[in-house]
C-alpha cells in the first residue's frame, strides 16, 4: 500500500509530539527513557523518509546512526549507570510544576511553535519537509527546555537535554537536508560523550549528596 507523502509527514510529526508528551506525563525514569526511545525511533524514521524523497544517501546514514546511538546506546548507558542508584531517586514525586499543568503548558508550547514558524519564516519558500517538521522541532526544543526547568530530579535535566538535541536534529534535517555527514557524526559524538559525562556526574552526585534533587545544588552563590 502506498501512503501519500503529506500523510506520512503528518503521521510522523504527530507521533513525535506524542512521544514528547510521554516524557512530560511520566513520573519515573524508566518511563521517560522509553518515551525518549520511541521518539528516537520515529525521528530516525522521519529522517529516512526525507532521505527517500530527496535521494541523499548521507541522510540514510544519519538516520541509522541516530537509531543506533539514540535509541539503543544512550538509553542502555543511562540504565546501566543508574542501576546502583536507589529507586526513590528515579521518581519525580514532587515536581516544581504539577504534571497536569505541565501537560497544559506543553500543549501551549506546541501552539506557540506553530505560530512562531508561521510568523518568522513565511517569507522564505520552505520545502515540504520544513513545513511539516520545523514546528515540531521547535516544540521539542521548548518542551525539552520546560522539562529541564520544571522538575526536581537531575535525571530529568538529562532527558530534557536529549529531547532538545532530537529537536535540533529534526530541525537540521528538515531545513537543510542535513549538514554534512562529518558534522553530523561530530554532533552525535558530542551528545554521546555529553551523556557519559553527565552519567558520571550523576553517580558522583548520588555518592556525595545522597540525592538527585537539584535543590541540593544551591550552595554556590554570592551573598
Amino acid at each position: 500500500m502506498q501512503v501519500p507523502l503529506p500523510t506520512l509527514l503528518t503521521l510522523t510529526a504527530v507521533a513525535l509530539l506524542l512521544s514528547t508528551f510521554g516524557v512530560v506525563v511520566r513520573r519515573g525514569f524508566a518511563g521517560w527513557l522509553s518515551a525518549y526511545r520511541y521518539q528516537s525511533v520515529i525521528l530516525a524514521g522521519s529522517a529516512a523518509v526525507i532521505a527517500y524523497e530527496t535521494g541523499f544517501w548521507e541522510i540514510y546514514v544519519a538516520a541509522v546512526l541516530t537509531l543506533v546511538v539514540k535509541a539503543v546506546i544512550i538509553p542502555r548507558l543511562l540504565v546501566r549507570v543508574t542501576e546502583s542508584v536507589r529507586d526513590e531517586f528515579k521518581i519525580e514525586a514532587n515536581p516544581f510544576v504539577s504534571i497536569r499543568l505541565s501537560l497544559l503548558i506543553s500543549a501551549l508550547l506546541v501552539a506557540l511553535s506553530y505560530g512562531l514558524i508561521r510568523e518568522t519564516l513565511s517569507s522564505a519558500s520552505l520545502g515540504v519537509f520544513a513545513v511539516a517538521y520545523l514546528p515540531v522541532s521547535l516544540s521539542l526544543f521548548f518542551i525539552g527546555l520546560f522539562v529541564m526547568v520544571s522538575r526536581r530530579m537531575a535525571l530529568n535535566q538529562v532527558v530534557g537535554l536529549l529531547v532538545i538535541e532530537n529537536g535540533l536534529f529534526l530541525f537540521t534535517t528538515a531545513l537543510t537536508q542535513g549538514v554534512s555527514l562529518i558534522i553530523e557524526v561530530g554532533i552525535l559524538a558530542d551528545i554521546l560523550v555529553g551523556v557519559m559525562i553527565s552519567a558520571l556526574l550523576l553517580l558522583r552526585m548520588s555518592q556525595t549528596f545522597d540525592s538527585f534533587d537539584i535543590a541540593s545544588l544551591e550552595n554556590l552563590k554570592d551573598d
Binding site: 532538545i164 535540533l168 558534522i183 558530542d190 555529553g194 558522583r204 550552595n219 554570592d222
Partner: protein
Amino acid sequence: MRSNLLALLTSGGVPPDWSTLLLTILLTPAVAVGLVTLTRTRRYAEAVTVASVLLVVVQTLALVAGVILDGQFSALGGFLYLDAFGALILIPIAAVGFVAALYSVSYMGLQFERGVVDDKHIARYYQGFNSFVLTMLLVPLANNMGLMWVAIEATTLVSVFLIMLYTNQGAIEAAWKYLMVATVGLSLALFGIVLFSYSNTSISPAVASSGSGLDWTSMAADARLLDPGIVKIAFVFVLVGLGTKAGLAPMHTWLPDAHGEAPTPVSALLSGVLLNCAIYGVLRFYIIAQGALGVALPSELMVILGLLSMGVAAASIYFQKDMKRMLAFSSVEHMGIVSLAVGFGGFVGLFAGLLHIINHAVAKPLMFFASGTVSQRYETKVMKEIKGVIKTMPITGAFMLVGGLAVAGMPPFNIFLSEFLVTTSGFGGGQFFAASLMILLLVVVFAGFLRHLVPMIFGSAKGPGISVAADVRSGGHEELLAVLPMAVLVTLVVLLGFYLPQPLQTLIRDAVQVFGQGAPAR
C-alpha cells in the same frame, strides 16, 4: 612533526606550505593525549604536556608569520581555514596554554603531595588538559561553522571533565550547572548556525550542491545577499547561544561557579582562553550579520549585552567574598568590554576590542595563578582570611598587586590602554550615553578591586583567623615553576601597556580588515 618544522624554517626561497601546519598543530596535542594515556606516570605526563604545548607555541608563531606574510590559507579542502582574526585568537591559546602547563606542574604537584589528588587523577588531569588545548585550537581553525560548533561543545565537555576532577560538593554542583546551561545555550546557537547555513544555500544552488553552505568564507562572501529576515533571527540565536558560553550577562550564571571551582590552571584557561574562543564565534557571525542587516542592529545588541555584563560584574565584584569568584566576575566584565568595543565599532573600536582580548588573556591568568598560589598557602579562597601576602610570599604578592591593578584598569598597564581606546571609540562614534556609563562602571570595578586587594596584599598577616599553612615542599620559599609563569605574564602586562610590537599591530590591523569584508560602506 619536527622534520616538518625544520623543513619550514630551512625552506629559504621556496614559499612554505602553511596549510600543513594547520594539521600538525592539531595533531600535536592529540599525540600528547595518547602518550599521557599510555604511560600514566606523573613526571612523564608533565614532560609530555609541557613539550606538546611548547611545540604548539612554535607552530603558532609560524602560522602568525604566515598570516602576516600571505593573508590567509586553508587545508582539507576548505574545512580548516586561518586568517588574521583566527591567528589572533590562536596566540592566547598557545601562550596561556604554555604558561598554564608550567604552572600545572607546580600546582597539581603540590595538590598531589598534599594528598588532594592521586596518580589516577593526575593522569586524567593531563589527558583532559591536552584534550582541552586540542578542542580550543580547533575553534579558530575551523572554516565549517558546524565543525566550530562541534569544537566549542567539545570544549564544554572536556572542561566539565576537568572541573569534576575534584569530587567535593562545590565542584560537582559547578560542573553540573555548567554542563546543563552551556549545552542548552549551544543548542540554541546551533539552531542559529543552521539558519545561517539555510539562508546561504537558499540563495545559490552552487553553494547548496558543493556542500559549502556552512563554510564561513562562503557565508561572508554572500553576506549582502542573505535574507535579512532569517539572518536577524539566526544572529539573535547565535548571540544568545554562544554568548552563554562567552559569559555575557544575563547568560553568565554558570561562569562564576565553574571558574571558581575548577583547578586553578584550568580556571586560567577557562577565563583567559576559552571565553575568547566563544566570543570569537559570536564575532564571526557578527561579521556576516552586519553584512546582511547593516551595522546598526547587530552593533546595538552588542552594546546592550556589553553594558549589561559590565553592570552585573561591577556589582558582584564590589560585594564579593571569594577570591576566585571575584576574578570570574571580572572576566564577565572584560568580555562585556570586548562586546561593547565591537558594538562601538569603527576602526578604533574594533582594534581596541581585539587588543582587549589579548590584554585580558595575559592579565587574567596571571591573577588566577597568583590567587591559586596564595590560596594553597592560606588554604582558603575567602578574601577576609587572606592578609599580608606581600610579607608571606613577596614575589607572588608583588605579581598579584601588578596583576590586580592591571585587571582593574590602572594605567600604565596593558588593560588601561585598550579600555581607554574603547571609550575613545565610543565618544568618537557618538555613543555618549554608553561610553559614559562604561566609564562609571569601570570606576566601580576599580574601587571594588582595590577594596579587596589592598587588605589581602598589605594587611597584617598576624591577625586573628589568619592561618598560613606550612609549605609542605619548599618550607616557605616560593617555587620556581609557580613563579616563572607569573613572571612571564607580568612582563607582558607591563610591556604591552606602553609598547605594541609591530607584528602584533599588523596582525590586529589585518584582523580588523576581516570585519570590513562583509560590511557595507560606512
